[in-house]
């Protein structure tokens, strides 16, 4: 094993244990400077740089940051990775999941052949048999019940070409509106907030805003663990001259919170109260006249209503609701309101909590009323959770319409039908597309009878798992994945897929940077790229366009990309200047919009204060922030938003599941630095698995003392839905709140009990605007079951750090586990 970090400067190599030191060495820099490059490398044991036969260009797929890297290939296998120093996103750096996660590709238990259910058991078969079953069931249902009997639930981890193809097949060829991605769980509220404020999806900011900002505010965004390389960039600013001040909103003592405590402000509100907090912050900004009235007048509508709404929300009121000191709210507002260059980021602490979209929209408002948008350092990053979530949104595999078109605008539907050469009536647009939670409800009722799941694991990742298991037992279930996940085990047909490194395609990160990911090695056994599987299905179904040609008209990743790029002409996410060849020739990733006018891409959106909000142009007319009811064209026109942004006010509503005597804690779930989703890959990566081997529950010191709970004790956590057992980590979380990581399902447990997954506990409730499930607003209780045999299996390096003595620090894998699965 070898981990290197070669700095551009003279400081040389850094420490090699990137489990123990997830963010690596500091390369400090000052405001306006370019972030120094540093190339991080990890090669398998016994492999030196000279042994590498080829380096193949790609980017990370185990988080949303889009870290550019090269895959090292030797002997037809992936043997390591190296960061791309020339890339704008990571400047050569890689995080722990980037460095180690590729090893899962080589895992011996990859799916190699299709499986079909025979006599209650899954048995191996060939592709013809498996696909014939999918095709005949689809045909039967289309004949008997029509397209509304068929649903698709996809991922945030496939490639752009695959999503566009899936959208064309589902929305176009079959004509069902039951299509969503698991991006509904991670990024739906980001998209919704952008649509509410700017009338169109599209990330305004850029990662380079970190280089310029004097205040960085992270709202429910533990960047240190969710985008570790972005956090390295912020840490390097903090270590340099004139560091930015940090404002952190998080109930846990995350590394971000710790950074905020020196010179910035950390607010730890009770879960479910974000709108109250945001309204109070806006109250202070307006009361102190930290408002750019000229910008507001020229570029926004709705200011008067926002002002009147937040006038009713002074810090003292929010302090009662959020249980944070009013003085801290005032201090945070002062930092935000007196910033010269404010960068805000938002993630799951907002998106997966009560009133998700309404709260995320208030962050947009915070920027608009101060005119802090579209200039270096003045950015909004409504983050994504997954590497290719952006493409699920752009391409329309998540319920959005391809190319950020508007489902309620007949001209947009006609335009897409023209690109697909299909009858517009074939594309269902009678109502908003069915979101994931409603798809599962329709399956529960039996009105969706075939569900095709690709690249995701709802049997562990959806809320209220006892219910979801019974729902998944109902339909004809097709699962397309790389491992036999908990969901695949329930399937009627399992299709083995190729993954990252085994297929070619593109994907786009949070700040609109498009990366090409080339095929480095052959997939195992008979596994095939998701694109090939979708196209094979289309050909077997014999879908045709209006001219009688096979539909989709494309046949591989490159032709799919070209069809996609052509369909984005004049849309905000303009890819017309991009192609596989262009991306291969470029030094590294390119930001959209990229077209003839902007051949090298576009760093920031909205620098001119003009938005895609004209009624003919916009992606959405918006929704009621409380009821989620869509506005119609007439109501939207009445706002008079032509090219202006929309300031939307929101009233605070109490969470739906109140904290009561029986369930006295607020329960939140979330991720750790070392894992991704349900650990299908990271659980098969020795270093990552060893760093966070099992579930835990975090509890504050004061709560633990009251309950007689010690570090490492086995505890039972219960809600109205169910119970799990987990070791207790006495940590830096605020009083009254419990945290359970959501990664741990059942594929690697030894018994049949369902007592480990965080989603046994979570409620079925979602934000009415974005339809994102609320994983962070449940009422729970915790009881001690048995004493500790050692510390909890929680990492010590990040938010789950212990506050008690005697817990050994998390460090790199031991000699036995290192490379054990290779």
């Amino acid at each position: 094993m070898r981990v290197d970090a070669t700095s551009a400067g003279p400081s040389g190599t850094s420490g090699s244990d990137r489990i123990a030191r997830p963010w690596g060495d500091r390369t400090p820099y000052g405001p306006g400077d370019e972030w120094p490059a540093r190339t991080d490398v990890f090669l398998a044991d016994g492999i030196g740089a000279d042994d590498v036969e080829r380096w193949v260009r790609t980017a990370s797929v185990l988080h949303s940051n889009g870290d550019a890297m090269d895959i090292a290939v030797a002997g037809g296998r992936i043997v390591g990775v190296r960061g791309r120093a020339e890339d704008r996103v990571n400047r050569g750096r890689l995080g722990p999941k980037d460095l180690y996660g590729w090893q899962a590709n080589n895992s011996p238990d990859r799916l190699r052949r299709p499986l079909v259910r025979e006599g209650g058991r899954l048995v191996e078969t060939d592709w013809d048999t498996a696909m014939a079953r999918v095709v005949s069931r689809t045909r039967e249902l289309l004949d008997a019940r029509g397209p509304s009997a068929i649903g698709f639930y996809t991922s945030g981890q496939l490639f752009l070409e695959e999503y566009y193809t899936l959208a064309a097949i589902g929305h176009g060829a079959i004509g069902t509106n039951h299509m969503d991605g698991n991006t509904r769980l991670c990024t739906a509220s980001a998209a919704a907030a952008l649509k509410e404020t700017f009338a169109c999806d599209g990330q305004p900011g850029s990662y380079t805003d970190v280089d310029h900002a004097d205040v960085i505010a992270l709202f429910g965004h533990n960047a240190a663990e969710t985008q570790s390389v972005l956090w390295s960039r912020i840490l390097d600013r903090l270590a340099g001259p004139q560091p930015p001040r940090i404002v952190c909103v998080d109930p846990r003592g995350t590394p971000v919170a710790q950074a905020a405590r020196s010179g910035g402000v950390h607010l730890a509100p009770l879960p479910g109260t974000n709108v109250a907090l945001m309204n109070a912050l806006l109250h202070q900004i307006i009361a102190n006249d930290w408002v750019d009235q000229e910008y507001v007048d020229a570029h926004t509508v709705g200011y008067a209503e926002l002002r009147d709404r937040v006038a009713q929300c002074p810090p003292e009121w929010a302090a009662q609701v959020c249980r944070v000191p009013a003085e801290d709210i005032r201090a945070a507002a002062r930092v935000l309101g007196t910033a010269e260059r404010l960068l805000s980021t938002v993630l799951q602490g907002v998106y997966q909590s009560h009133q998700a979209s309404a709260a995320a929209v208030q962050v947009n408002n915070l920027h608009l009323i101060q005119g802090m948008l579209g200039r270096p350092g003045c950015g909004i990053l409504q983050m994504n959770g997954q590497p290719t979530a952006q493409n699920t949104r752009e391409c329309g595999a998540d319920g959005d319409m391809s190319g950020f078109r508007n489902w309620s605008n007949g001209a947009h539907v006609t335009d897409l039908a023209r690109h697909w050469n299909l009858d517009p009536f074939q594309i269902p647009h009678m109502s908003p597309p069915t979101h994931a939670m409603q798809i599962f409800r329709n399956v529960e009722q039996g009105t969706i009878a075939l569900l095709w799941v690709s690249g995701t694991n709802p049997a562990v990742s959806l809320p209220e798992l006892p219910r979801i298991r019974s729902v998944l037992a109902r339909p004809f279930l097709v699962v397309q994945d790389i491992f036999l996940t908990e969901t695949a085990e329930l399937a009627d047909v399992v299709l083995p897929a190729a993954t990252w490194g085994e297929k070619t395609g593109c994907f786009t990160n949070v700040d609109r940077t498009v990366h090409l990911s080339d095929k480095a090695v052959e997939p195992p056994g008979e596994a095939r790229p998701d694109l090939d599987i979708f196209l094979d299905f289309a050909r077997r179904m014999d879908f045709r366009d209006r001219g009688g040609l096979p539909f989709p008209q494309w046949h591989d990743a490159e032709s799919a990309f070209d069809a996609w790029a052509a369909s984005t002409e004049t849309r905000p996410c303009d890819y017309t200047g991009l192609s596989h060849a262009r991306l291969r020739a470029a030094p590294s990733g390119i930001q959209w919009p990229c077209n003839a006018e902007h051949p090298d891409g576009t760093e920031r959106l909205y620098g001119d204060g003009r938005f895609f909000s004209h009624p003919d142009e916009c992606e959405s007319y918006g929704r009621d922030l409380v009821t989620g009811a869509p506005l119609d064209l007439t109501e939207y026109r009445a706002l008079n938003p032509d090219a202006k942004a929309i300031l939307k006010a929101a009233e605070y509503l109490p969470p739906h599941e109140p904290i009561v005597d029986e369930y006295p804690f607020a329960l939140i779930t979330g991720r750790t630095l070392y894992h991704f989703h349900t650990r299908t890959k990271t659980g098969r990566t020795p270093q990552l698995q060893a760093a966070a081997p099992d579930v835990w529950v975090e509890c504050s010191r004061a709560d633990a003392a009251r309950l007689g709970l010690d570090e490492g004790d086995l505890a039972e956590v219960s809600t109205a839905r169910g119970s799990i057992r987990a070791r207790a980590r006495i940590g830096g979380i605020r009083d009254g709140v419990l945290f359970v990581p959501f990664h741990y399902g059942y594929w690697d447990t030894t018994d049949d009990a369902h007592d480990r997954a965080a989603n046994e506990l979570t409620p079925t409730d979602w934000d009415p605007v974005s339809k994102q499930p609320l994983f962070k607003t449940a009422a729970a209780r915790i009881t001690r079951v048995s004493p500790a045999t050692g510390p909890a299996p929680a990492p010590t390096t990040a938010a789950s750090y212990p506050v008690t003595a005697g817990v050994p620090p998390t460090a790199g894998a031991t000699a036995e586990t290192r490379g054990a699965r290779r």
């Binding site: 409603q438 409800r441 009722q445 009105t447 009821t627 739906h656 409730d765 979602w766 009415p768």
Partner: protein, 162 residues
């Protein structure tokens, strides 16, 4: 009693009834999670309107009893609720949902018209207090109506097509 007081009394009755309809609807459709949660959220608007109508009436020397109760559902309604959760996986509940949304929309439309009448009269009679009441409550009634309409649009295709 002045005629404007009669309108206030009628609004008090109709808002109470709307709140009750929303709460009942939530209980009948617990397995439709968005309907369940949002119906309860926006029932709160009607309950608040009832309070404000009573207060406004009192300022005018008119006594309206609060107790036409917009509170929790009665025993019989709880039985309905249990029945609704017992059949969560039956498609027939979809038709029931459409019927309930249709009823809700009509009821909210009635309340909206009552507010319209009150606002018009208050303007004509220069009754500022009453006018402000109508101006601040009526938009929420319209939002309740739009929600019923939007939910109907979302659910109808799947209920009818399947």
């Amino acid at each position: 009693m002045s005629k404007i007081d009669l309108v206030l009394r009628e609004l008090h009755r109709s808002e109470n009834s709307l709140a009750r309809t929303l709460l009942l609807m939530a209980d009948r459709h617990r397995a439709e999670h968005e309907v369940f949660h949002v119906a309860r959220d926006i029932a709160g608007w009607s309950q608040e309107h009832v309070e404000r109508i009573v207060a406004c009436a009192e300022r005018r020397g008119l006594h309206i009893s609060r107790s036409a109760s917009a509170g929790a559902p009665a025993v019989v309604e709880r039985v309905v609720q249990r029945a609704s959760t017992a059949v969560t996986s039956r498609p027939e509940t979809g038709l029931l949902l459409l019927a309930d949304l249709r009823r809700l929309h009509r009821k909210a439309a009635g309340v909206s018209l009552d507010w319209e009448v009150l606002a018009q009269a208050a303007q004509a009679m220069k009754e500022r207090d009453v006018f402000e009441l109508a101006s601040s409550c009526h938009p929420q009634t319209l939002r309740q109506m739009r929600w019923a309409n939007a939910q109907l649009k979302v659910h109808a295709p799947q209920v009818i097509a399947s």
